[in-house]
């Protein structure tokens, strides 16, 4: 049986990414060990400390940089996180200076919004409607 325990976002700068993903978004650091020239650096949601870890992986490969820029130009998020209330998160993160490329949008079964993680990615937040 295989388990999904980690998922990754490519970040331009690991230290900057750790600050944004913890101080601004509210994740907590789980693992931080040297790995070659970089670090195996993961964060988790404080609500699920033993849940799936998010790996803040350096954008090392030149193709990854091109890929990220192309996604951002078209407004496409690299990944999506679940939230309870998109509007509340939009207000909280906007107040913290986070830039949104898509304000909260009611799409029927789900509400979504998209913001810039300052590390080269757009990230979607989504809440299913009860």
């Amino acid at each position: 049986m295989l388990t999904i325990n980690v998922t990754a976002v490519y970040v331009d700068d690991q230290a900057k990414a750790l600050a944004f993903y913890t101080d601004v978004l509210g994740f907590v650091k789980k693992t931080d060990v040297p790995a070659g020239g970089a670090r195996w650096l993961t964060v988790v949601s404080p609500a699920h400390p033993d849940g799936v870890e998010l790996l803040l992986e350096p954008t090392g490969h030149p193709a990854a940089k091109v890929y990220k820029e192309a996604l951002v130009a078209d407004g496409i998020p690299f990944t999506s996180f679940a939230v309870e209330d998109v509007q509340a998160e939009y207000e909280r993160l906007s107040a913290a200076g986070v830039e949104f490329t898509q304000k909260p949008t009611d799409l029927g079964p789900v509400v979504t919004a998209v913001f810039d993680d300052t590390c080269g990615n757009l990230i979607q937040i989504a809440a299913e409607k009860g």
Binding site: A73, G75, T101, T105, L107, T112
Partner: protein, 90 residues
Amino acid sequence: MSEALFKALADATRRAILDELTDRNDQTLFEICTRLAMKHGLGSSRQAISQHLAVLEEAGLVTTRREGRYKYHHLDTTPLRSIVERWPTE
């Protein structure tokens, strides 16, 4: 110009794009594609939507604006005035 305008309006997907830009102006390509898929059940590819946007842009109904690394699509209904001016009711 008027040929481009009538051509642009003569397609249901392009009219849906105009509807969604009326709901909120200045959208990324991703937001437009998401709205068409989720709210209109349109499964067009991103490339197809890009081509529809190019037709709308040619008609002057949509303009694009780069803001940093992002690109937003803006609705401009000014060209529609030429229709009522061509066939005034008074």
